[in-house]
Symmetry: D2
Subunit: 346 residues, 4 copies
Amino acid sequence: MIKAGIIGATGYAGAELVRILNGHKEVEIVWYGSRSYVDQNYADVYRNMFQIVDAKCMDDNMEALADQVDVIFTATPQGFCASMMNDAILSKAKIIDLSADYRIKDVAVYEKWYGIKHESPQYIEEAVYGLSEVNREMIKHARLLANPGCYTTCSILTAYPLAKEGVIDMSTLIIDAKSGTSGAGRGAKLPNLYCEVNENIKAYGVASHRHTPEIEEQLGIAAGEPVTLNFTPHLIPMNRGILATEYATLKKQVTYEEVKAIYDQYYQKETFVRVLEKGVFPETKWVEGSNYVDINFQIDPRTNRIIMMGAIDNLVKGAAGQAVQNMNLMFGFSENEGLNMVPMFP
Amino acid sequence: MIKAGIIGATGYAGAELVRILNGHKEVEIVWYGSRSYVDQNYADVYRNMFQIVDAKCMDDNMEALADQVDVIFTATPQGFCASMMNDAILSKAKIIDLSADYRIKDVAVYEKWYGIKHESPQYIEEAVYGLSEVNREMIKHARLLANPGCYTTCSILTAYPLAKEGVIDMSTLIIDAKSGTSGAGRGAKLPNLYCEVNENIKAYGVASHRHTPEIEEQLGIAAGEPVTLNFTPHLIPMNRGILATEYATLKKQVTYEEVKAIYDQYYQKETFVRVLEKGVFPETKWVEGSNYVDINFQIDPRTNRIIMMGAIDNLVKGAAGQAVQNMNLMFGFSENEGLNMVPMFP
Amino acid sequence: MIKAGIIGATGYAGAELVRILNGHKEVEIVWYGSRSYVDQNYADVYRNMFQIVDAKCMDDNMEALADQVDVIFTATPQGFCASMMNDAILSKAKIIDLSADYRIKDVAVYEKWYGIKHESPQYIEEAVYGLSEVNREMIKHARLLANPGCYTTCSILTAYPLAKEGVIDMSTLIIDAKSGTSGAGRGAKLPNLYCEVNENIKAYGVASHRHTPEIEEQLGIAAGEPVTLNFTPHLIPMNRGILATEYATLKKQVTYEEVKAIYDQYYQKETFVRVLEKGVFPETKWVEGSNYVDINFQIDPRTNRIIMMGAIDNLVKGAAGQAVQNMNLMFGFSENEGLNMVPMFP
Amino acid sequence: MIKAGIIGATGYAGAELVRILNGHKEVEIVWYGSRSYVDQNYADVYRNMFQIVDAKCMDDNMEALADQVDVIFTATPQGFCASMMNDAILSKAKIIDLSADYRIKDVAVYEKWYGIKHESPQYIEEAVYGLSEVNREMIKHARLLANPGCYTTCSILTAYPLAKEGVIDMSTLIIDAKSGTSGAGRGAKLPNLYCEVNENIKAYGVASHRHTPEIEEQLGIAAGEPVTLNFTPHLIPMNRGILATEYATLKKQVTYEEVKAIYDQYYQKETFVRVLEKGVFPETKWVEGSNYVDINFQIDPRTNRIIMMGAIDNLVKGAAGQAVQNMNLMFGFSENEGLNMVPMFP
């Protein structure tokens, strides 16, 4: 039994960590950090937790926290984790950062897309990018883990085998992504009001969304070449779920069976990646509440393109679930401990 | 480890049984009954179950099934279970019927409200009404269990302590209930289409809904007198959840503390009934995906009425969850085994 | 052609006034008041109005405005209109106040329920309560009009004929109301976020909602006796629409036909009140975007109660539409001018 | 005043025709055709029309209808209109076909994508493709009008000026479209049930959707070269609205201003096409209930692509609204008569 602290426990991703860890046999949450709700009962902020979580929210003192726990999850705004990090903390507790602070290896790229100065670039090199299925071995030995973004997890895993095996022309890759509204966080902002989101769909961050360089870097590593792509997120009137629809030109003619074999080679042994049957395309509802990624593809011989589709629950595989999956790897627990939630339908 | 069969496994309640039992340590599902989908893969009917359930749908042969399993869940249309029941089946397997067939003791009342002839009234007497918190001891020894309806579970538990303790005038009780659309089942009917339900609310079954006599019978038993009440269900544009708002005149002046003490007396030791804090009123989202019932009340001194409110997930505590809770009681398992799902928010 | 000014034009009710008046042949809007967005293009605040409204938002200067227009609509927070009112304004322009400031004749009741001091009680007596169908003749001669609340319009019209004709026991009246989220306004508050409202239902303001005394006063006038009742609003995951479900004990035995005749007597000639056919109960979707009130009822001989149901679009008949209907009466226009919108389905 | 008949008046598109024509000064509907509901009151099928439409549904007798009316709208399944068409009908009434029967000039392409034989190919040549803004002059003289599909209207208008002016490389065009559920029609099918669509998003018809050849043909005409493209539709949990996100490589470097000037050249004088301001991207809610198309674009210098976005209400500009716009052109009415609906927000 290890002890965990969560900084940013009252955001939607933090709350999902609480939900998941509640069913984890090896972990006890001892610190519910939330600057906004210090000294309030956690269950007053998330009333679904009434009689389940009996604890008060604590301030964000990362140093004090590191003394008390084995692992710290930071589900905090960009820049926070980088501003707090130091050798002392890293020597005492493992860090799983759900923000973008250590996801991008090139600090200049980070600073350009996020518009803030990185306050501890010296730790970027050490940080392991926590795409569990891709970097499993490195994750096992990480002490500072950069948990991937929601859009990025979905976008990368959907295209990864074909990028890695050189099946698709990376210069043609276009990712059109759709997300439920919980991805926008719990901040009280006009565009996130019920009446503004409901019965509506829009693109946002067109050609400028911050997850773009993260996807480019990781798929570039897979492909062995620099990748520049278009990524367009859309806001969907639903709480949870991301669907990524990805388009790329095939480098050479391939059959369904050949592509399927490549996907299977990468994912058949993976618990949380399901390559669907022929002609069955992912729906976010089929993964809701679970750590699954559902993937499939369609070859279009008319255009010589392949359309790849992937679906996740943005708060689980796209945030808290993958963070727990990474924690399991880092501490030598069974990788799917606490993550056996069956998707909820309807 | 016991074996379970589900007849009607491809309705929403049946599918929820599959989801819940999947996480139950003492039960293995060996029969996914579904007349409509015989020989099809269960996971083709509910794709959220892909790579989780590897089984084909079976026909509804209850006799054959009783030979193979310890418990049979019938999540079937009204009349089916009654038409199948016989001594042989009951001698071989325990039956948990999620339909209304054995819920109402007076067969004339059943036949009047449901408009069908009861085909095995001889078993009604034996059947135990499976409101777990109320009939726990009887349930432990039942072989034929009548699992309560969704509206009824919520409506009864919300008013039960005050009916039982004589706090409210039962002749004044009015129940205004609101349900998510999964309560209408998975049948392809025009009124249940997305565009007909979305952005809409309506009352239905006004003064004629079939759950009325079930609520009346049970609250009548609690109150020790015949009860006739108004029950009005409404269809809400959401998938899951029931909220019951109940109005009754107080028999005498009582304080908040007195009423709270009565609720606590009945529910404080109950895992799945949460009486909320003063001034906090139930929201269905706080119980979504879980077996909880959230309850609270407000006294209105201006009208001398009390307003009681209760919320459940209609597919869990209102159907499959309570069925599993009852199964746990009937087989001597821990009552909350398989039911520790933390409500999902958002 | 008259000139109109709107104070509070950037709230949802104000924006609905803009939408409706845009199709009105006799009115030109010359002042889009909005303290929050002064000097910004109105169409930047409501982009549906792009290339339709070409005007900037103005400050809330009611005195200056009165010089320029024939009618002022105040769609403002409680207390604003009362704090601004004076003889000069009233001598220059007709005022239609969409807030509660002049709705309640007893200033003590207003101050108790709203928790603020009324700053111009001297005008309450003169103000006409703008329930168009009930107070039509008085409205024609009003210069200060108190436009009814959304819940109240729906609640009152649904019960009015039976209250007036003494059919129901007013001491037993219970109103259980359900509203879409636009009723909560456009303020950026956590409880109104998409993820908090979606897939959720809750009661709020239980036994304490401010529309209660307004309903009581008006139904009391109708019944010719003081009325105290329970009113419970609920928040529904939809943008628009209110459904009121109302329960009352019948004073004597009546038939469907007798009650229907009473409703017809009051509403058959009304353009905007539709008493539905027997057994057809109101759905908010059937009135969406229109000024209609749909009403029906069901007698329950088992309990000797009648269940009355009414549905409106809260932003139209519940706010802006009724305000325009009242303006039409006040200025001698055709009562339905600008209000012939066919309900939008789906 | 002309007389109109609608065949297929009880589908969602047919019902929207009824809604729109109800506010049209020059048209009277005299025939509400609906094979499924013959002899039933139209207002019993669409209760929003209660006391607005007082007529019964009629059978689909197109010959008899042509004798009585000036214009026939066919909002029917593919193949129906083609199977009915003959010289006699065309000599008596103008036909506006909302199905795909006459949209595609190459009958082999039609038969391949729709999988049915075209029963009156001799009329294809004469039929005018009713994209109002593009084919205005031809439409004025048409007697057989092929009203464009919903996805196609949105997809084509969004890219049209850049295709026509040779700004984009047509071989790179990818259209990722998202539609509300009313596009799926009112048929009672499991995938369209509330609980299956709500809280869910999926792609469908991937690389095989029937609107593909229609888009290809029209954009091919614009570009002056054959076009083959990827079109991927997605189902969104909302009633109305289509958003098309379109990606293409720029043929040469262009500035925002240059592209804007091209869009303005085509659309500035158009009532129903709004090219939004810089950096403001279309949202379906801003056009809901109206005949507007909202369009904008973003150049991505990193990839040398342009992202074009367009939004419509699928039932209005995507079906009934454009049909009425075409009727106005065909009969010499003001083009926007009956179509001045202000978009409804929220």
